[in-house]
Amino acid sequence: MAEYNEMSDEVLRERTRALLEEAHPEKCDSVTFRRAQYEHGLAWVHFPEGYGGLGLNPRMNVVVYDEITKHSKVVHHDPGEAIIGIGMGAPVVLTYGTDEMKKRLLPKIFSGEEIWCQLFSEPGAGSDVAGLATSAVRDGDDWILNGQKVWTTLAHISRWGMLIARTDPDVPKHDGLSYFILDMRAPGVEIRPLYQITGEAEFNEVFMTDVRIPNSHMLGKEGQGWRVAITTLMNERVAIGGGGSKKKGGGSAPLIKLWKDRKPGARSAAQEAILRDKVTRCYIENELLRMTSQRARAAQKSGNPGPEGSVSKLAHAESLKRMWEVAMDVMGSDALAFEHGYELRRSTPGIDTPRGLAKYQFLRSRANSIEGGTSEIMRNILGERVLGLPGEPRVDKTVPWKDVPRS
């Protein structure tokens, strides 16, 4: 589908140098620099001209990055909070948005001035997202939204939300959904932190009561929301990427360190031997994941990819949980303390959580097999899409959504 413009690396480097002459990362802040980067078409070079790109092959983004790092000690990377906007918001706006929307929204996504969030999951729609119940009812040029979303990262600082709502409850579930861009400052939008097992809130609950949303903020056509959402979710996979360490022993290094630092004399020799075996198992599991992603890369390179890529999410989630369980066992009674405390507070994932603390990871890793597809859903996907096993008989696919039982 994609046809890219031709441009030599050298020309692209020249253009990058022209940008650096106008705005240099060492001499201006991130927003100023990234605004200029967008104007020069060097934000995401695979986007069309006029929208922060040059219509080039996405592989050429590294050329720009390389040239910038060559001439500047400071690099204004994608701001952490902008990840959802850049990874999912921008592609969906580019694909489905009007020209006016693209001009209004894309520059500020890239500059990080406007943060985005994703409003898909609901309390009653977890694995079964397409069964969601938030309703949008047409009223003149507007839609009136009522419902609740959950697990919304960054909602509290977001300017815009990508939202799916039910515009027609009388048709089967996938057919009655529409996709909107929601102004998070609109009246009737209420955001509350959702405190989790660690005491922190990485996520929010978003309540919508009679929120007005203009029809012009619908992406795609009425009833096509699922298809638009799939585009977003596919980009989510690209944005999140594969897990696992690339370095030998990397993934299990924190556990190995705990083991080496264990208190001497806390256990009998027999207990030590049992625990050593458990630690070794964890080391091996991490190595298996590393080798599998290496094998997946090799298979991709030779154009012969097999199922090795698809098993990673499941295997990774389960082995991480096991590793942190064993870490607790290694710490033994010292793990009875939780120095970090359970202060209920907001946090941004990957930015201000105590990632190095094994006891924290022991708690946080429970989500690994739930977020981004539960391990049970991943097993269904492996069973049905990779192994070709038949699906379960479905009671929700052909009946009107309103007739499907819900908890």
Binding site: K246, G249, I256, W259, K260, R276, D277, V279, T280, R281, Y283, I284, E287, L288, L289, M291, T292, Q294, R295, A298, A299, K301, S302, N304, G306, P307, E308, V311, L314, A315, E376, M378, R379, N380, L382, G383, E384, V386, L387, G388, L389, P390, G391, E392, P393
Partner: protein, 372 residues
């Protein structure tokens, strides 16, 4: 440097050739026939495997009449043989004995025996483990005695692959210098060999007794380090064979789950069965990564072969056993019968897990290697 686990077109061709050959010569009926013979394999098939496909001497250098291929080619052959449950002396002769000769033996012995293995004319077996059942080198107690200019062996060796029918045995024994390799030919004085009824019908094992048996010392000086490498190489190859068997079990299970109807629908549509299959797939894919990694390490210059091989053997053993055991479970009552071939894989899985030391021992080696 991460290893590049890529296969070339030539590799894919080799895989297709070996698979086609094994489909022809080692279908289920052939396996059942060969495993019930005392020798345990078919000599004509072995000859064709050596002469037509050049597999018997796959890792033997060209100067000794072999194909001079690496462990990457070997892993392909082993994986396919594991799938087909081929009854043959391949593991014992073409991998274990060939590796031992290459690592430890003097030139004259190499010249003679490697050529014999490559041409398919000679079956050579390594006699390693002893009645104490220990697979680590410290477990080897058999003492070689110098007598005049010759050597004599007294003692017993257990679980010798094809030991009852091999033309030559390579016996690992102690001298004043350390562990060394001795050659004992069939028919030697004081040598008695007894076929042991084995759990895995597709691989023959023998008990060897040596009573003042004359032997020739084919190594010079302590071979402990070399023998550790030999064991690691053989485990890497066995791991690839385990992967092939595990893949086959997964395929049989999935095929059955798609076609077996109960309560009006395929049993594979139930999550209880589907999730079992998904878990098998995960373990088999991880096993493949470990076995390939070990064999690519064996083929290259990396120095962590002991770890890579033990890691592969540990995981591939458990993955194969899981796949075979769940394959039985998914087949229900039929899985428990003699009539279906699953029990043959199940037995191969357990036996190959225990051979060279079980998964727990392999993990201990990994732990030692990474220094924890």
């Amino acid at each position: 440097m991460p290893i590049d686990m890529s296969f070339t077109e030539e590799h894919e061709e080799l895989r297709a050739t070996v698979r086609a050959f094994l489909v022809e010569v080692s279908d289920e009926q052939a396996v059942r026939e060969h495993m019930s013979s005392e020798r345990g394999y078919d000599r004509d098939i072995w000859r064709r495997l050596a002469e037509q496909l050049g597999l018997a001497g796959l890792i033997i250098p060209e100067e000794h009449g072999g194909a001079g291929a690496s462990f990457v080619e070997l892993l392909i052959a082993m994986e396919e043989m594991g799938r087909a449950l081929l009854c043959s002396p391949y593991l014992g002769t073409s991998v274990f004995a060939a590796s031992a000769l290459l690592a430890c033996a003097d030139e004259a012995t190499q010249k003679e025996l490697l050529a014999g293995i490559a041409s398919g004319e000679k079956i050579v077996s390594v006699a390693w483990v002893e009645p104490n059942g220990r697979w680590d080198l410290a477990g080897i107690e058999l003492q070689a005695r110098a007598k005049d200019d010759l050597w004599e062996l007294d003692g017993a060796k257990s679980w010798v692959l094809d030991g009852h029918s091999a033309d030559t045995l390579l016996v690992v024994a102690r001298t004043d210098e350390g562990l060394e390799l001795f050659r004992v030919d069939a028919g030697a004085e004081g040598l008695s060999r007894e076929l042991v009824p084995s759990l895995d019908l597709t691989r023959k094992l023998a008990q060897i007794d040596l009573a003042a048996t004359p032997a020739s010392r084919v190594s010079r000086g302590d071979q402990t380090a070399a023998l550790e490498q030999v064991l690691a190489l053989t485990k890497a190859a066995l791991a690839a064979e385990q992967v092939g068997g595990a893949e086959k079990c997964l395929e049989m299970a999935v095929e059955y789950a798609k076609t077996r109807l109960q309560f009006g629908r395929p049993i594979g549509s139930y999550q209880a069965i589907k999730h079992k299959c998904a878990d098998m797939l995960v373990q088999v894919e991880l096993a493949k990564s470990a076995a390939y990694n070990a064999c690519f390490v064996a083929a290259g210059e990396e120095d962590d072969l002991l770890e890579a091989a033990a890691l592969a053997k540990a995981h591939c053993s458990e993955a194969y056993f899981l796949a075979a055991a769940e394959c039985i479970q998914i087949h229900g009552g039929m899985g428990f019968t003699w009539e279906l071939p699953i029990h043959l894989y199940f037995k191969r899985a357990k036996a190959s897990e225990l051979f060279f030391g079980d998964a727990a021992l392999q993990r201990e080696i990994v732990a030692d290697q990474i220094g924890i």
